[in-house]
């Protein structure tokens, strides 16, 4: 019961934040709305019992990536969005397409509701950092190392791209 109420609250906050992201005209407002969405998502992860994921969601996503976004917005002094018509296709075809997509996926979920079953707040061995770390450094060691290389490359790329051409 509590689970459901909490889920509904945080889900609504997520959606509200996402809608606000769309509605706001200044990018900084959108960024802050996104931070709200990420925070509520972290809380939903906690509801699911994945505490490690919730932690890194806050630390990495909301804490690092969004901060980076805010830095860039301030660096570029992005102002209010101006009005311009670029692509009619985007509005005429894309929006209905997205709506159709959403409806379809939603319909699948709803129609399979009985079969899917339910979620309970879980036991301790689910989101345990200990287990995740074991998995990460044993079964998924190779992808882990590759992601570190990936980050290295991203750093180099960002440095090169961001350099002022002299």
């Amino acid at each position: 019961m509590v689970h459901e109420i909490l889920f509904v609250i945080f889900g609504l906050i997520c959606v509200a934040g996402a809608v606000n992201l769309l509605v706001q005209r200044h990018p900084i407002n959108s960024a802050l709305s996104l931070v709200v969405v990420m925070a509520s998502l972290a809380l939903i992860y906690l509801l699911l019992g994945a505490e490690f994921v919730a932690a890194i969601q806050v630390i990495v996503y909301a804490g690092a990536i969004m901060v980076l976004f805010v830095f860039v917005i301030m660096l570029l002094n992005a102002g209010v969005e101006e009005r311009s018509t670029g692509s009619k296709v985007a509005l005429l075809l894309g929006i209905p397409g997205v709506i159709v997509l959403g409806c379809l996926v939603g319909w699948i979920m709803i129609s399979n509701n009985q079969r899917l079953g339910g979620i309970r707040i879980n036991t301790a061995d689910f989101g345990d950092t200990h287990n995740i770390a074991r998995l990460l450094f044993q079964n998924f060691l190779l992808p882990f190392e590759i992601t570190s290389v990936l980050i290295l490359i991203a750093i180099m790329g960002a440095v090169v791209l961001g350099r002022r051409s002299s």
Binding site: G86, S87, V89, L93, G94, G97, V100, L101, W107
Partner: protein, 692 residues
């Protein structure tokens, strides 16, 4: 049955000559080219003689298939060759007269460009003609049939740089094609009903069938074959190509359009006598067409002023006689006339060529005259030939023409009306031939002195200018003053064949002297087995047939008195024609102009060949051209086919142009397409049952 005679060598020798001359002749000089051509033709003639003597010992008919050509289901057509009395006559005529004309051409074409090409085509023609007469089935005969049409086209349009020559070649080919279409239909009917096209197969099957009273199968087949013969042998209504075929060099006119190719139709009818004899209606049609053609062409020949055109119409008329003979089932009379006609018509054409050569390219008779002193040999042979064609005894034409007329009168298939028309035509023939003779050789030489009227000039100008242009390299041109030495006799290489043909024109008739003249009609006897094998034997209303079941029709014991009367009638009519011609053109040469001036309208109509060419043009050519241009060219070819191809291209371009607008450089539209695509994919997956 083993093939010991190897008849296939006979056509193949000229083919070899054609191949050598055609492929390599450009590098040879005239002597080598002529040697190759003459050698192949002479060798063919010699081999034919040898094969014939062998075959006569072995017993005719000699029928051997060398290889199988087509096998389709139950139908098969071989490469086979057939030697019987009829094909013996044809082979000897073709190779003999052909060889003489080859010799003549060596001299006549000596200064023309494309010497090797001429002889290559001529040998090619010999190959096809020999295939035609030696074939043992209709299909191989059709190959020869078409091939001689092709050779005729090539040779008529030999001076291809001249528009009128090229057009005449096309006309000949196309008009022939109409006849060939009917021939094909006849062959298809034969295949359908008899399952084979081999002569022995068809005739054996036909011999079991009775004479048809009405319009049955055999009549239809015979009519189809007859239409084919009409095209090839220039009968009404498909004769229009033959006068225009005079655009070709004179030896071509002699060989193809007098002696051999045009007789292919007659040969085909004679060969199919089994079918024709069993369909009286078809025979009637053949006879009527032959008769109409004979008199019609004779009237047109009377008004022409170009020497070769007169001879062309004369050929059409004589072919009408042969058709008439076949139409009264007197096949051997028709073949007899074919043989004698080959001699004197070839002689007439070659002689005319000699005259033209002597005058430096002049072909209009109104500018000739007084040549009997200057070119005596040519004059002598032309006189012989004119006497022969007019039917004056004892020259060859008399016997064959009289045979035909006698049969027309007395045969059960004949009629008195046809006989009367035939006699009148004989008179006309004599008249216009002697008109030609007197205008050409008598009086005084009018070269360059006569002013030719406008309208006549128009009709003869093309043929005239043609030879003028052709002889240009000779240094002759159109001027009356001859390049080298005035009016001169032809060289012996040209005169030799003329003399041989003249001898033939005299004696060739003597093999067919009929019984009432105390001859033994060797020719008719010779061809008898061919006709007998085809004659119907079932009792019909014709008592003659049942009583003389073993004898060909020509052997009917006739009333000698009647025969003498008929023969004398035709001679008298011929002499009347001669006298009128002499009166009008020698004694009082100013009369013809006065007569034509008084009958101006009729004269013009006849001069313009009854406007038949113009009529055909309006009725057939113009609508066909219009149809072809509007419907087929603009409609189908440009509209549909080009439209499809170009349309495919422009459709691709259009689609590409539309699709290009997706690449707008605008990120949001890319995203939109992705979203749309994603929605479509998921929708498809749901529809496939993924989410169930």
């Amino acid at each position: 049955m083993t093939d010991t005679l190897h008849l296939w060598v006979i056509p193949l020798l000229p083919l070899a000559g054609a191949a050598i001359n055609g492929l390599f002749g450009r590098r040879f000089n005239n002597a080598v080219v002529s040697a190759v051509a003459l050698l192949s033709t002479a060798a063919s003639f010699a081999y034919a003689l040898w094969a014939i003597t062998q075959a006569l010992h072995m017993g005719l008919p000699y029928n051997r298939s060398v290889a199988t050509w087509i096998t389709a289901g139950s139908f098969s057509a071989p490469f086979g060759f057939y030697l019987d009395q009829l094909s013996i006559v044809m082979v000897l005529v073709v190779t003999g007269v052909g060889f003489l004309i080859h010799v003549y051409s060596v001299g006549y074409m000596a200064h023309e460009g494309g010497f090797y090409r001429f002889f290559a085509y001529l040998n090619l023609f010999m190959f096809f003609m020999l295939t035609l007469v030696l074939a043992n089935n209709y299909l191989l005969m059709f190959v020869g049939w078409e091939g001689v049409g092709l050779a005729s086209y090539l040779l008529i349009g030999f001076f291809f740089l001249k528009d009128s020559a090229a057009d005449s070649g096309k006309k000949a080919f196309i008009v022939n094609r109409i006849g060939d279409f009917a021939f094909l239909i006849g062959m298809f009917l034969l295949i359908k009903h008899f399952g084979t096209l081999n002569f022995d197969g068809v005739f054996k099957a036909v011999s079991g069938m009775p004479v048809e009273a009405g319009w049955g199968l055999l009549t239809i087949i015979a009519l189809c074959l007859m239409v084919g013969a009409t095209g090839k042998s220039a009968q009404v209504p498909l004769y229009v190509w033959l006068p225009d075929a005079m655009e070709g060099p004179t030896p071509v006119s002699a060989l193809i359009h007098a002696a051999t190719m045009v007789t292919a139709g007659i040969y085909m009818i004679a060969r199919s006598n089994a079918i024709f004899s069993r369909s009286p209606h078809a025979l009637e049609v053949v006879a009527i067409i032959g008769c109409i053609t004979a008199i019609f062409a004779a009237t047109m020949g009377m008004a022409q002023t170009d020497i070769k055109r007169v001879l062309a119409y004369s050929t059409v008329s004589q072919l009408g006689y042969m058709f008439l003979a076949c139409g009264v089932a007197a096949y051997s009379a028709g073949i007899f006339h074919l043989m004698t006609h080959a001699f004197f018509k070839a002689l007439l054409f070659l002689g005319a060529g000699s005259v033209i050569h002597a005058l430096g390219g002049e072909q209009d008779m109104r500018r000739m005259g007084g040549l009997w002193k200057k070119i005596p040999w040519t004059h002598a042979v032309m006189l012989t030939a004119t006497l022969a064609i007019a039917g004056i005894p004892p020259f060859a034409g008399f016997f064959s023409k009289d045979e035909i007329l006698g049969q027309v009168f007395s045969s059960p298939h004949g009629s008195k009306v046809l006989w009367v028309i035939g006699v009148i035509t004989a008179g006309l023939t004599s008249f216009y031939m002697f008109r030609l003779y007197f205008m050409t050789f008598h009086g005084e030489l009018r070269l360059g002195k006569v002013d030719i009227g406008e309208e006549a000039h128009a009709t003869t100008a093309p043929a005239h200018a043609g030879h003028g242009a052709a002889a240009h390299s000779h240094g002759h041109g159109d001027d009356p003053a001859h390049g080298h030495g005035g009016v001169h006799e032809s060289p012996w290489v040209m005169l030799g064949p003329l003399v041989v043909l003249a001898i033939g024109s005299i004696v060739a008739g003597w093999v067919g002297i009929p019984a009432f003249m105390h001859g033994s009609n060797n020719f008719g006897q010779f061809l008898a087995p061919v006709i007998k094998s085809g004659a119907p034997t079932s009792p019909t209303a014709m008592e003659h047939v049942s009583e003389a079941a073993g004898q060909p029709r020509e052997e009917q014991p006739e009333n000698p008195g009647e025969e003498w009367a008929l023969a004398s009638t035709s001679v008298v009519v011929a002499l009347i024609g001669l006298l009128i011609a002499w009166y009008l053109y020698k004694k009082r040469p100013e009369l013809p102009a006065r007569i034509t001036a008084r009958m101006h309208g009729i004269y013009l109509t006849v001069l313009h060949k009854y406007y038949i060419d113009e009529g055909y043009g309006l009725l057939f050519v113009k609508p066909l051209l219009a149809l072809s241009t509007v419907v087929f060219w603009r409609g189908v070819d440009q509209g549909i086919i080009d439209g499809l191809v170009n349309g495919a291209g422009s459709a691709s371009k259009g689609i590409g142009g539309e699709l290009r607008r997706m690449q707008s450089g605008n990120i949001r539209s890319y995203a939109a397409w992705v979203a749309l695509g994603g929605a479509a994919v998921i929708a498809y997956m749901i529809w496939m049952g993924v989410g169930k």
